[in-house]
C-alpha cells in the first residue's frame, strides 16, 4: 500500500511534528458498522471553511474510551456508537491537538487507507 497523503492536503501537511500513527483511537460514529461517511474530513465535506487547512484535512479522534463515552453523553447527536481502531504506522500520521479536550488527536490517514474498515463498534447503542 502506498504511504502517500491525499494530493488535496495543503502544503506542509501533516505538520513536521506529526508522528507515525500508533495505538488505539476512538470516535463517535452514526452507523453500525461504521461507514465511509463516518470518516470524512471537514475538507472533504466542506465544513469549517475558516478552520486551519491542515487540521481540516485530518480526522478528529480520542485516545481514551472514557473520553468518547463522555463525549457521547455530552453530544448525543455526534454519533450513537463508539468506534475503535488500532492504528499502525502504515495508516498515516497523528498529532496530539488537545485544545479543550486533553486527548484530542488529529489523524491524517494515508490516501489509500480504507478508514472505516479499521474501526469496530465497541459500545452498545445509547
Amino acid at each position: 500500500m502506498s504511504q502517500q497523503f491525499s494530493p488535496d492536503f495543503p502544503p506542509d501537511c501533516p505538520p513536521a511534528d506529526a508522528t507515525a500513527a500508533s495505538g488505539p483511537v476512538y470516535c463517535l460514529v452514526h452507523n453500525s458498522p461504521a461507514s465511509d461517511r463516518d470518516f470524512q474530513s471537514h475538507a472533504e465535506t466542506g465544513k469549517l471553511p475558516n478552520a486551519p487547512a491542515c487540521l481540516r484535512s485530518g480526522l478528529s479522534v480520542l485516545r481514551q474510551l472514557a473520553d468518547a463515552q463522555h463525549q457521547r453523553r455530552l453530544f448525543p447527536q455526534l454519533g450513537r456508537w463508539i468506534a475503535r481502531a488500532h492504528l499502525e504506522t502504515h495508516h498515516g500520521q497523528t498529532k496530539l491537538t488537545p485544545g479543550k479536550v486533553p486527548d484530542h488527536t488529529t489523524w491524517w490517514p494515508y490516501h489509500e487507507v480504507n478508514r472505516s474498515a479499521l474501526f469496530t463498534i465497541v459500545n452498545e447503542e445509547l
Binding site: 475558516n50 478528529s60 455530552l74 453530544f75 479543550k100 479536550v101
Partner: protein, 227 residues
Amino acid sequence: MWQISGCQLSNDYLGPFSPDRILYEYDGPKIFTVRDREQDLCLACWSAADEQSNRFIVVPTSETIVKALESGELPVAQALDQPRCWLWDISHDEQILQCLKVAFQDIPADCRPAPGTMLRPELEHSSRARVTEALRKSKSEPAIVQLTGRIREVDRDRMSFELREIGESSQSQKFVFEEQLRDQVIEALDSEELVTIAGQTHPIRNLVAATMISRPTLPISANSGPQ
C-alpha cells in the same frame, strides 16, 4: 435536522455568531459563551448538525454558572435548563440562518447533554469522588433504628419486607432479614398486628437489616429511624 415548535425571531436577535470563551472544542467550538446584542452573557451548546448548518442551544447565563461548569460543580444540562432558551442555526461558514425561542424541556433528550454530564471527563471523576465522599460522610455510618408498624409485602426469595403504617402515617421502610427471623416475619404478616422492628441501617442503600421483631411496648411516637 430535528424539528421543534417555537417562536421565530429575527436572525440577529442574539447578535452575531461570535464565540467569546470556548469551554469545549471538538471539530469547532461546541460549548462556549457568547454576548447577545445587549452584551449580556449567554451559554451556547452544540446540539446537532446537517449538511447546511450547526444547531446550538443558547441560554442566558452568568459568570457564576460558567465557573461552576468549569470546576465540575454543575452539569451542562443543568446550566442549560433556564427559563429562556433559544435555538441558533449557524451555517458552516458561520452565517446565522435561524433563531428560534423554545422551551428547554421541549428539546428532545437525544439532542441535548445527558443529565449529570460534566463539561469535561476529568470533572466527572472529581465530581463523582466528591459525591461519593459526601455520601460516605453522611450516610455510611451504620445507625440503629427502631420502628413500629405493620409488615407488608414479604419477599420470601429476597428475604425482605416492607414495614408500613409507621407511626400512624403512610411512611414505609424496607427491611432485609436473616433466616432466623423468617417465622416471626411471616407470623407478623399474617396477623397484621403492629410490631416493633429493631435493625441497623445499610450504608448508602435505603435498607435496614432487621435484627429483632417484638410486639410494641412503647408508644408509637417512640419511633426512631432514617427519615
